[in-house]
């Protein structure tokens, strides 16, 4: 079959996803926003979030313009293709758009969730979860559209061959990457500056409850949930999702070149087809998420889990005929196994993330006990817990890499006595890419499970501020805590897929670099092959690259954490000032000046997000110009490995502190107000930037390092010192 034209199926899948997102958004909007007071609060959160994204966009667009000019110059001199500047812009804008849509619906859904929760837990869940699906299906739809349309354009309008298409597409992720890093870092700083600042003065110093309307930083805190946990996360997953397809397309091309054009295009189409299957499976999964009106927390959690794992099961079943159809009887089975490996690995990482961070299990329970001997032991214990928790994800990723590589490389044919089976290094690498696609295929559901948490969190804030019946707050808290559990699952998928994607990109980079160096040789010279590249770990350039990669992860972490510290300090001073200067604020007679806190957070986030992002862009270029392609390869490897381990550590330490605190608040070890609780609050505050700023940003960092290197490979190959 002619698989080139099949990319229109990708477009169709994208349109289905987008249509579903649209339907879900209409569904959300039909719910009532509640009382006037709730409307007013929601409106100020919405306007704060919108204002932030608008101003973020203004900063980003300046950066974009600089990069586009730079890319245009590179294109004119032939170092990159002429499509790059356009792809950069379009990719960035689509990421921005999906983050914007997701955030917008979240800021409409928060008050509606609070209002629905007044009727029942189940109704609250439905509103919040529906708004989560708007984000997730927008992300899935727009990225699928981006990939499919570009392919059709390059193939049928510009008449490019598979090599050029692969080389182009694998670089197209750079616009996405840059925006995702901006959104993750900026949003992460905003949300945690507001959260930490509000807690430190409000909860710790003034002794008023969380989300108390007297706290001047309370609106900023709620805005933060939307710009960080919704918009930032959406951009992050958009990147992982599209890049897993980009990398697989590039690797598929290389793996099946020897079998002719038809197979090449089939292998390039397979990742897109898998994504379409995933869209359908996720869609089906949303229909599993049904409960009785008076469902308990456990039932709600069970139905969410049933939906998630159900979608994964449907996808797993659906992948088989699709892979068989596209790749043919001789090739399909190993590739199918590789995809399954990815899907299973995602579920396993998700399980261990929950095991290490949920108060239902031993590690977090033990951690909670450490609060009895003070915040120092609580903090040491949390750091140790997070570090120890890296063991499972690392072993799972290793198993996934080895498993998908061997399966797709044909080892099972060997083992089962298939005489025609041929082990192929290239199809093994393609398998790693497919594993990442498989892991992310049900993103429509896993991301929705993650994204509804901040909506519930916001709803709780609105319930508190609007003085609603305490049972509403109780219900939104329940929703929030279910969200914490499902978010752990979502994080597992995000982190695992980032690692696999980055490794697939590393491999694509190496192939690209070899071709670039070869192109620089004088006519008639021996062709430059992979074997001529000295990627030996003993090569000082490679080793130094690994060193720089490790250091980059630490320095980037330092910068983002310092940023939160500085921004939070400015909020602390502002809140203290308002408490001091606005008469009657504590008695509830005078309104605090919410806007100033939102503004401070906005300014801090925008100022502070530039440094880490620029660092991520500049380090690969400088490393490349000094230590060459080999140095960059070390850098990608080093930053991926260390970034992955560090991201798991930070996310899990932060998650465990948070849940240990909640476990204490539920009445254990002395409950709220005890010394143990005070110790836990401090630990939780330390964990805030760990889990919501630095940890998730690291995913975006190492994916971006790989992509930026790709774009500059021509320059690096031509001009590096060593």
């Amino acid at each position: 079959m002619n698989w080139e034209i099949a990319f229109v199926i990708g477009v169709a899948g994208a349109l289905i996803a987008l249509a579903f997102a649209f339907i879900q958004s209409r569904k959300v909007m039909k719910f009532s926003e509640g009382t006037e007071k709730m409307k007013k609060i929601a409106a100020s959160i919405r306007s704060g979030a919108k204002a932030y994204l608008k101003r973020q966009f203004k900063v980003v667009i300046i950066f974009y313009m600089i990069v586009v000019v730079l890319l245009a110059i590179l294109a004119v001199f032939g170092y990159i293709s002429v499509f790059m500047p356009f792809a950069f812009l379009i990719g960035g804008l689509l990421t921005q758009l999906s983050a914007f849509i997701g955030m917008k619906i979240a800021t409409f859904a928060n008050s509606r969730t609070a209002n629905a929760a007044e009727q029942s837990l189940n109704k609250g869940l439905r509103v919040a979860f529906s708004s989560g699906t708007v984000l997730s299906f927008t992300v899935v739809g727009l990225s699928l559209l981006d990939v499919s349309l570009w392919f059709l354009l390059l193939r049928f309008v510009f008449d490019l061959g598979p090599t050029e298409i692969a080389d182009n597409m694998v670089m197209f992720g750079v616009g996405v990457a840059v925006f995702a890093l901006f959104a993750r870092v900026g949003g992460g700083i905003f949300t945690k500056a507001a959260d930490v600042g509000a807690d430190l003065v409000g909860k710790v110093e003034a002794g008023i409850p969380e989300d108390d309307p007297r706290n001047p930083a309370v609106i900023a805190d709620n805005v933060g949930d939307n710009v960080g946990d919704v918009a930032g996360m959406g951009a992050d997953l958009y990147e992982s999702y599209i890049k897993s397809m980009h990398a697989s397309i590039a690797l598929g091309y290389a793996a099946f070149m020897h079998l002719g054009y038809d197979m090449v295009f089939a292998s390039m189409f397979l990742p897109v087809a898998l994504a379409v299957v995933g869209v359908i499976a996720s869609l089906a999964g949303t229909f599993f998420i049904r409960t009785k009106e008076n469902a308990t927390k456990k039932q709600l959690l069970d139905t969410l889990r049933f939906g998630t794992y159900g979608a994964a099961a449907i996808a797993a079943v659906g992948f088989a005929p699709v892979t068989f159809l596209i790749m043919g009887a001789d090739n399909w089975f190993g590739l199918y196994l590789a995809i399954l490996v990815g899907l299973v690995a995602g579920c396993l990482i998700a399980y261990f993330t929950e095991y290490f961070t949920s108060a239902h299990y031993k590690p977090t329970k033990n951690l909670a006990k450490a609060s009895e001997t003070g915040s120092a032991t609580f903090i040491i214990g949390g750091i140790a817990l997070g570090m120890k928790s890296t063991i499972a994800p690392v072993l799972i990723i290793i198993a996934a890499v080895v498993g998908s590589f061997l399966a797709a490389g044909g080892v099972f044919g060997f083992v089962f006595g298939d005489a025609d089976a041929v082990m192929s290094f290239n199809s093994g690498l393609y398998g790693i890419g497919l594993a990442a696609v498989g892991m992310l295929s049900t993103l429509g559901l896993t991301l929705a499970c993650d994204a509804y948490g901040p909506v519930a969190d916001n709803a709780g804030g609105i319930a508190e501020m609007a003085g609603m019946d305490p049972k509403v707050r109780e219900r939104t808290d329940t929703l929030d805590s279910i969200g914490n559990t499902t978010a752990a699952t979502g994080k597992g998928f995000a982190i695992g897929s980032a690692a696999l994607t980055s490794l697939a990109l590393l491999v694509s980079f190496i192939k690209l670099a070899v071709r670039e160096i070869d192109a620089l040789r004088p006519a008639g010279a021996e062709p430059f092959t992979m074997a001529d590249l000295n990627l030996n770990i003993q090569n000082p350039s490679v080793l130094i690259g690994i060193f720089i990669g490790a250091m980059l992860v630490f320095v980037f972490s330092a910068m983002t954490m310092s940023a939160v510290k500085r921004a939070a300090q400015s909020i602390v001073l502002e809140v203290r000032r308002q408490f001091r200067e606005i008469a009657g604020i504590m008695e509830g007679k005078a309104d605090p000046d919410y806007a100033t806190c939102v503004d401070l957070c906005t300014k801090s986030a925008l100022r502070e997000m530039v440094g880490p992002t620029v660092l991520g862009v500049v380090v690969p270029i400088i490393t490349g110009l000094i230590f060459g392609v080999e140095g960059v390869i070390g850098l990608i490897g080093g930053s991926t490995v260390v970034g992955f381990v560090m991201a798991v550590f930070m996310a899990n330490s932060g998650g465990a502190w948070d849940n240990a605190k909640k476990y204490i608040e539920a009445g254990n070890h002395g409950g709220k107000g005890s010394e143990a609780h005070k110790a836990a609050v401090i630990g939780d505050t330390v964990g805030d930037p760990f889990k919501d700023t630095t940890g998730p940003s690291l995913n975006t960092l190492f994916k971006m390092v790989a992509t930026v290197s790709m774009v500059f490979v021509g320059i690096i190959a031509a001009y590096s010192i060593f």
Copy 2:
């Protein structure tokens, strides 16, 4: 000249160092121990420390016996040489001996320092520093003796050729490595469990000052200084020092094989000769450390610095003729430059360590300010500071690796137009080894500067407990704070040399592995060469090895920190029990039960040190048996890079918290007793295991991974799965 026999010069140098250590110990013992009360306190610290080391030895010896039997079996089957079991035992015992001597003199010097400080600051410094030189010269002397005697034995008694000698010696470090890891981890857990436990109940809960005799954990705390900061550190540096020689000997052999036997032995002797020069330079340096009787703190610090840098300068000058004489006019200059690179890199890392952790500079001052917004921002700030501080050491190590490689590889001959200059990969690698030797050459002085700190700390404790004049405590505090600054310098050298040594060992391992694999080939087969080893970072085995290496560092860190947390919790409970149950303890009418706390710390440390050590031994073997030589090479690389960066981060975060707290105690940001101070105390407690348990143990961990791999290379080459 016949450089084989020149190794007797190594023996002579060793004897000079040991004689000096003996003279210094007599000098220390001549000072008076002070009052009866002081004698009694010192005696209980001494007996606690001795008891700990004795029991530690009992645990270690069991482990040793198991390993010796295992090694004997391996030797019988021909996987390792017959010398290995003996070398393992002797190396381990000598390390233990030097740690024991250093600790013993420290426990005699503490009360003497307190007593001398009653007369003047200068006298106190002299006693404490002299006891530091006993440790440092014992370490230097015994390891130099070990290396030189083994060489003479293997060469002239067993008549081995250079290849066999090199292969043997590079593995001989494994006994040292295992003991060093036990000592570092066990001592680190002991000292911090006691310190954290004593502080949490004493300072934070009961509000009594540090080192108050009413605190039941106070003796344990002082014992901890001796077993952790003296014995543990001595063993750690013993390992770095001897291994830098081992690795250089092995690399020297490979680099000059083509120039004939004389040059081979010359290159093997050069590291030993440099060490002898270093002994003499360090000895000379100790004579620079003189001040007037009424010297100020600044003058004392200046004289210590003058001594340290003076010794480095003398060594730098002395290395030139020695290198010229041994390596000849054609080869000396590049090698000499490589040595200098190491020496300068050590000084630079030391400078940046001080910059990031001393309250004289901006970073720690800024950190202190963060305490005003509470312990959460203080802790976030400290973590960020430590992570950011990794940038300088990483860049310096990169520069040192590149610089020493290029210099020794002959690039300068090239650049300066020497027509005969030949770039040699192997002599470049030898240069990396020499850089490590150069960096450690003045260990006699840098280790003494580090080791006198705990003695001054102990002296302060004794002054407090014996109720001496407050001016004594003031003076010992001054000594302690000088010690903190010089310790930062010492840590710089320890950490930098560990990284260089480990990289040199990595290279030696690769060479060894190639020979082992080659030996396994059937007779008449093509010889297996370096080029046949797939060390490509794209090789899944290598990549997985790097992943496991990164994870090992995180998991090891988690285990050591959890150990401190658990041990400290048990001390907290015991101290609380004594406060509750012993009537009159708070009024000073009844003596606390010090021995129980010492015993608890001993038991915890011994129980908890086994896990991390076994992990360090087992992971390389398992990785090797699954992923083969290539996996192990990735593992060594990954654990070295990540371990180095993590060690710098932890040491500097911990150091900065400590000094920021002291800066606040000196009257800044509200001074002692303020909210800022309370926040800083919590941060400092979190930093305790960072800087004194996990951080320094990581150095020992990655050095050990390399050595263990070396010993098992025969088994790995023969039986690995992949």
